[in-house]
């Protein structure tokens, strides 16, 4: 058995065996460089999309038809990454076994719900109850997948565990 005590002033752990002070092997401190890099790269991607979107009308490729969705997409990426960074920058650990488990189950439930939606849309189309375009179906799928995953994850996070 390893006996350790924490010194709050020196922010280090003392081993009773030899009295040496050092960080505990499980201690994970500060926001990781890898995580900072991920946020920075995502924001740069968003900025790149905005710039390309703004360049389209200037170089006369597609005009506003292509420009507006690209600028919107870029801005959404930048805003989401900024919010995510602001929420997680104070945490030592962004993901742990509980959040990974919850994320996995959230995505799994979302996949089942989207499969159900695909079945419903298939029968709606097969029975000619509604006229569905490819754009309608893809849009509904993207929305249901994204928002259901977020809702399931939020629900499981509040619950604490998946069981």
């Amino acid at each position: 058995m390893i006996y350790i005590t924490y010194d709050h002033e020196k922010e280090a752990w003392t081993h009773a065996n030899d009295g040496t002070m050092h960080h505990h092997p499980f201690l994970v401190g500060g926001v990781s460089v890898k995580r900072k890099m991920r946020y920075t790269l995502s924001m740069l991607l968003g900025l790149l999309l905005v710039l390309i979107g703004l360049l389209f009308p200037i170089v006369e490729i597609g005009g506003e038809r292509h420009s507006i969705p690209m600028v919107n997409m870029g801005l959404i990426i930048i805003i989401l990454m900024a919010i995510s960074y602001w929420l997680h920058c104070k945490e030592d650990v962004e993901f742990d076994e509980r959040t990974r488990k919850i994320g996995g189950y959230g995505l799994s439930y979302s996949w089942y719900l989207t499969l159900l939606l695909a079945c419903i849309l298939f029968w709606i189309d097969y029975l000619h109850l509604l006229v569905l375009s490819v754009q309608n179906v893809l849009g509904a799928t993207i929305l249901v997948m994204t928002f259901s995953a977020m809702i399931f994850k939020w629900h499981l996070s509040r619950k604490g565990d998946v069981e």
Partner: protein, 68 residues
């Protein structure tokens, strides 16, 4: 599942954030562990028990009902 995480943590004068840093998880995970709402992996249970200078069976108490 009942746990003695809160009691042992207080005995060692550790905050939830301290313990979370020691075992490499988020503070919320410690919170749910203390409430008995989260079943940790064997690895995390071992890390928590070690950090609290105790054994797994001292920290996490399973009852017959939990195994059903």
């Amino acid at each position: 599942m009942k746990t003695r995480v809160k009691e042992l943590r207080a005995r060692h004068d550790l905050t939830q954030a301290d313990l979370a840093s020691m075992v490499g998880v988020r503070r919320e995970t410690i919170l749910f562990l203390e409430k008995g709402k989260y079943n940790p992996s064997l690895k995390l249970a071992y890390k928590v028990a070690t950090a609290l200078q105790s054994t797994i069976e001292d920290v996490f108490i399973f009852e017959e009902e939990d195994l059903k």
